[in-house]
Assembly symmetry: D2
Homo-oligomer: 344 residues x 4
């Protein structure tokens, strides 16, 4: 069997190296090219010893024709890098936010740049397989979801799509520090981040429009108000989102049992969303593509709370990107992603 060829643009961030790690385990893909400006010319294994076995060398540009490109560039830069590749007909999974939002006007508002190719926003598919599997299969460009949105949307989608909750939603997320990337900043300096909880993005985090867009599209009433507050906690990987909603009048009167059934049914046959019988912990997802979900309801108040745990670098980034590629190329959706979480 011939393997397809894959390339990673900007391998030198955490999402990039995680992609390399996962693709290394894939039976139908050969990672043939990895790029990175500052480290060009170095062996991948000299910069990242855990990837020494790949034998790859970092180059300034993609040097080989590949069947699939993963862009791990930051926003704005990613669109600029990808558009020429799309024009050549290549298929791309973009890890940045540059093709996630459907409204071009949101880019200047949330990301401080004018989108260079607004017409592509309609072609791009939001790469959350649980919602858009069919479109992903046919897409030329897949916008890989943000880490927080992945955890939040998967937690709330069943409730919103079935019209079970009022439109006023709260998402309180706790992320490991790797979510901030490999770029050095004071808040991610060890002595600052250790023994600390820090809320941020209080004026509006960039992942908010993404969460709203996807939930609103699901909502039968097309009206969703999301309050989203992210926090950084002293761990390397993982996102836990605690999502708060309120049952619509007359809905979910069957309590926990009904709620569980809603989730089991909604995610039936999904390989990575798992409805748990006990509250999940981020540690149970470490290194894996799982999203662990746990809904509860307080019948007296109608308050619904959903816990959602993922590994921010896997289901929240590189793993989901590989899952999307698997769908795009008709591979088994779990190829490259079979490894169990590492625990403890």
């Amino acid at each position: 069997m011939n393997k397809i060829k894959a390339g990673i643009i900007n391998v030198t961030g955490y999402a990039g190296v995680e992609l390399a790690r996962i693709l290394w385990q894939h039976t139908q893909v050969e990672l043939v090219s990895v790029t990175g400006r500052s480290a060009a010319g170095k062996k991948l294994g000299d910069v990242f010893p855990h990837l020494a076995a790949t034998g790859l060398t970092i180059t300034a540009e993609l040097e080989t024709k590949v069947d699939i490109v993963f862009s791990a560039l930051t926003h704005k830069t990613s669109a600029e890098g990808i558009i020429p590749l799309l024009n050549k007909g290549m298929r791309v999974v973009d890890m940045s936010a540059d093709f996630r939002l459907k409204e071009a006007t949101w880019y200047p508002q949330w990301y401080d740049f004018d989108h260079p190719a607004p017409e592509l926003l309609k072609k791009a598919v939001y790469g959350l397989p649980e919602l858009h599997r069919g479109s992903i299969a046919a897409a030329q460009i897949v916008a890989n979801p943000g880490c927080y949105p992945t955890s939040a949307i998967l937690a709330l989608a069943p409730l919103v799509k079935l019209g079970l909750v009022e439109p006023d939603l709260v998402v309180d997320s706790k992320s490991g520090v790797s979510g901030a990337g490999r770029t050095l900043t004071l808040p991610t300096h060890f002595a600052e981040a250790s023994d600390n909880v820090r809320a941020y993005g209080l004026g509006g985090h960039r992942h908010l429009p993404e969460i709203s867009q996807e939930l609103e599209a699901l909502d039968p009433f097309k009206s969703v108000a999301v309050t989203f507050i992210p926090h950084v906690v002293p761990m390397t990987r993982g996102i836990e989102s605690t999502c708060y909603a309120r049952a619509r009048a007359g809905k979910l009167s069957g309590g926990k049992e009904e709620l569980d059934k809603v989730y089991y049914d909604f995610y039936r046959d999904e390989p990575y969303t798992r409805v748990m019988q006990q509250p999940p912990e981020t540690k149970h997802t470490w290194g894996s593509n799982l999203c662990l979900l746990y809904p509860v309801i307080h019948l007296k108040t109608g308050r619904v709370v959903v816990i959602s745990c993922i590994d921010n670098l896997v289901k929240g980034a590189a793993g989901q990107a590989v899952q999307n590629m698997n769908i795009m190329f008709g591979f088994p959706e779990t190829d490259g992603l079979e490894a169990l979480p590492i625990y403890p």
Copy 2:
């Protein structure tokens, strides 16, 4: 000047040793007796090397007449231990939950025991100085608040008391592991708690009735519905509570500026609640009695979010207990509590 004499019952937990540490710095109090069943007969400094300078020995019972007793026993046991002391006329600060709730019927419901002295629940004062300073001064028994309630009530009190928000409140709290105490459990085992976020108490945490009781008492409409979800994150000390409310129609239209003024005015002259100009972090409270507050409002949706940070063992336990003692004895409220937070 003669110092008063203080005793600690059950010094061997984290709240107990933190009390000993703080009292050691107090200019008007001498810690003369510390008890602990399992460690009776041992030098305090042999069990807790950081307290070696105190020169104290752990005894099975209070061996000296003292002016103030701090009980760091667990619930139920604490009431049993304290009642005889109260009958002798001693003044007590109880760190347990045994005198926090006004409704005796809540004890079997939330703590699985019948309260042995329901009549004392009316006499006891809930020891949150910012709300009950006057009553604390005169109290024989002060019920020292729980760690989560301290962070949540201080965050929400201004909004609730002034009738600014709707009664539907969400408190999402993140706590360091020391909040679970020194007793060994699987979730507090290092390999389990590190690199992990864990929501718990989803069926109703014991601190919920305490939060509800105090906020409802403040509320002009006497109606408050609180959803409270605690989480454990991998740090030793600290609680961050992110509190979500919604402005009542017509309220807080002045936005952040009005909101800040509400908080500044409410906590004017308070030594430990500090309204911040930047979102606070738990790390900025380490070892100190501070409660750092930061309110924001999204005018379009009316959503109010308040961040609250404390050191769970100080303002959330031992420091607040000393603050209460200072009020009870007419000492400067900051005595023993002047040390700045330790950072980083």
Copy 3:
């Protein structure tokens, strides 16, 4: 191809679940039975959510005939559990210390029990493939090395075997907390182990005789004096050993270049020991079977220092056990162990 069948006795510790995780990835082995006294009757995935995919149920005893048994019992108990299996002709990899020491008299001295089958100590093979591959292949019982000894022996073996250093060796090891297992103890309580370095075993750690035995066997002069001080540091996985030796007069005058050649040659063709060009970090081994080595020499003083990093639960326990099994059954030595380290 028919897979062989494997069983794990006492799956419920960290070495046990790590074995289950790794065997799940093995192409030629089916894990068919896992035992555990306290959790018998429960689904493995209910106790350890990361292993839910295995579908296994914990039983009190091995319920199926298996081709290979891994014992993850503690010392003394393990020997008692294994001996009947050996008598039935089964092949066993023992994770405990019960078959590591060649001298039966060392068991009462170091482990406080009389060995129940001293005659088996000669038959048992010390399962460090880099030293004993040939014997392992033929062995009925393989004694899987301790975590500290694995890191220390692999670091020092080339120097000792070639007679390059004086017999006075110092091994200073730093271990993650998971090395102490899943049993609850005060030093492994999160609030105690976090932000802490703790030296222990100052009177003589149980892994010392194991290190001495293996190095002495290699030594052309049969005389080695090892000082071994283990430390616990606040991380979950990983051991770093810094090993100090002194070049014999006239030896290693070629400096770093000669030293590197010694290590490269000694470990040529080994799949898991890797001589690094930069000082390694434990993080570069997370979840993998690698042992990363880095030797230096100060020519003026003749002082040699060797850094050695492993994941204590993989090369230091379960991974090495699977490597041994692969050798025993003639499988490719890397089967089940191909996954790259997870980083960061």
Copy 4:
């Protein structure tokens, strides 16, 4: 009583803010001026919320005449900044390495610059009170010791000064990440430093000449060979040094008892060095000026091991600086430093 006035040059690093925190607690010193280039003009409390109570503003230069200056500048810059102050007759405690080494030629060799005032190196006193208290009292300039040297020299001084051990010493140190300062670097990025042990300085760390100089000065034979390997472990504060020596023939035959007596006698009446009856942990020093020591000897081999624990930012930096100031001005040596360690 009139307080003396103190200034801190470059308050914006971790040693600088720790100095401000400690001086705030001092009864005889008023901190009147703090400088910092990049943050000049900002309130200290806006940059470091835990110091808000000081009310100080950061300035570009010392703006007030002060009785004592603490320089928290980095090496080379510190000498340049201090020399003019010395010429004006001011007394200075220098936290940098610029006045620690007696040999001017060591500066180009170890620190890559030519010392601008070699004649001052003889005047400067190495500020380890336990060894040089008398000279410190009279000094105009005190060179505050490095963090690693403080832990290593205090551990080994009794053995070396009394000629009890052979000159071949090994110091294996484990440091918290704050020792690397507040400057952003990849190895101190949270995701890199967490769950990791990293040895560094294998080619010779800058603190080595400092350790050698002080131990050699103590040694009756004036000959000491030190091997020093530092490691970074994932905690914020603390250094543990495990020091290895070998008893000279005929020495220390009295074993642990004799060894303890050596240490008790050597450090009799010292306020901060404490000989422990149990192996100490870095956690027992958090926030305090203590150095906890624990020596053992293996009589059969003559191997001596000494454990030494400090808080790297207190006894290893700011606390020792205040201790030196106390000696210089005849204050009680514990003023400002009475607070007990914070635990857990």
